[in-house]
């Protein structure tokens, strides 16, 4: 648990909020709404989007061309959120997302980033030795697959569309979504049927 905020910090926050409200920049209500949306966001949202894309070619096309619109289609409020881009894994290419400069992460569809995503170790190693990092996660990709590291450096946020694994034929969307983990949406893992 983090230490409780100091009284002087809370007083400073009150003054900042009052100044922002006085200038018409943001209201308490807007901040509360954003906090609620952020708390509600979880990798299950991204997983539902992937499961829909695996079963609905039109949704898949939308997801790959306009991730923001695809998220909104699933009921996610993207107002004020950075644009979402989606990277398609194929038999020939595997994407791995990292933010080497800070910890940019598609929070609107994945929620809060895990601690390891923000760690110096992941941020410095994923971009330089991605295969070694993936191997430590238990993911050994054949040499025939291009590993494409995506360094999330600026205004977009990136999510991976993994490949639908064999053995999931006939599964409905809910069951498909249940095997799409947060790690698969970042690209450090791939979904498995079993």
């Amino acid at each position: 648990m983090a230490a409780p905020p100091r009284p002087e910090s809370l007083a400073l926050l009150d003054r900042l909020m009052a100044a922002l409200e006085a200038r018409g920049i943001v209201t308490e209500a807007e901040i509360a709404e954003r906090q609620a949306n952020t708390d509600k966001a979880s990798p299950e949202t991204g997983a539902r989007m992937v499961a829909r894309a695996w079963t609905d070619p039109a949704y898949r096309a939308l997801l790959l061309s306009d991730g923001t619109a695809a998220a909104e289609r699933m009921g996610v409020s993207m107002a004020g959120a950075p644009p979402l881009g989606v990277l398609e894994n194929t038999p020939a290419r595997h994407h791995l997302v990292v933010c080497t400069l800070c910890s940019c992460y598609p929070r609107a569809v994945l929620g809060y980033p895990p601690g390891w995503y923000k760690s110096f170790a992941y941020r410095s190693r994923a971009v330089r030795e991605p295969r070694a990092v993936l191997a430590e996660w238990g993911l050994n990709l054949p040499d025939s697959v291009e590993v494409r590291v995506v360094d999330s450096t600026a205004d977009y946020r990136w999510m991976v569309l993994p490949m639908r694994p064999a053995g999931t034929e006939g599964w409905d969307e809910a069951r498909l979504a249940s095997i799409v983990t947060r790690d698969a949406l970042v690209g450090v893992a791939v979904p498995k049927a079993g």
Partner: protein, 110 residues
């Protein structure tokens, strides 16, 4: 600066070998490991307010942002040939380069 993108998909580019952090306080979104390196434009991603101005509350004109692809091996002198790194880079950090050494030689002779 928010006009049509200067670089098309497939354009060969070089990231400027510039180190503004050595000149004073700054906020840049161009990681060190691609500066001075050659890459290929994948596609323009749209125009966004320049974070270098935004961070200091200066008027921030929009700049075109690109996805630029780099080969892993030349960046780090290690790694598997064919593996790549894709990075978001603002247009003012990019310079055009001839696509191939042959084209470079032809340009020098011209």
């Amino acid at each position: 600066m928010s006009d049509a993108p200067r670089f098309a998909p497939g354009a060969a580019v070089r990231v400027k070998d510039d180190w503004p952090e050595r000149r004073g306080p700054c906020h840049i979104r161009t990681p060190h490991y691609i500066r001075g390196r050659r890459g290929t434009v994948v596609r323009p991603l749209g125009a966004f307010a320049n974070p270098e101005d935004l961070a200091f509350a200066r008027p921030a004109p929009k700049r075109t942002l690109y996805h630029v692809l780099f080969e892993q091996e030349p960046l780090w002198h290690e790694g598997r040939p064919g593996d790549t790194v894709m990075v978001e880079v603002f247009e003012h950090w990019l310079e055009p380069v001839p696509a191939t050494p042959v084209a470079a030689a032809a340009q020098e002779e011209a």
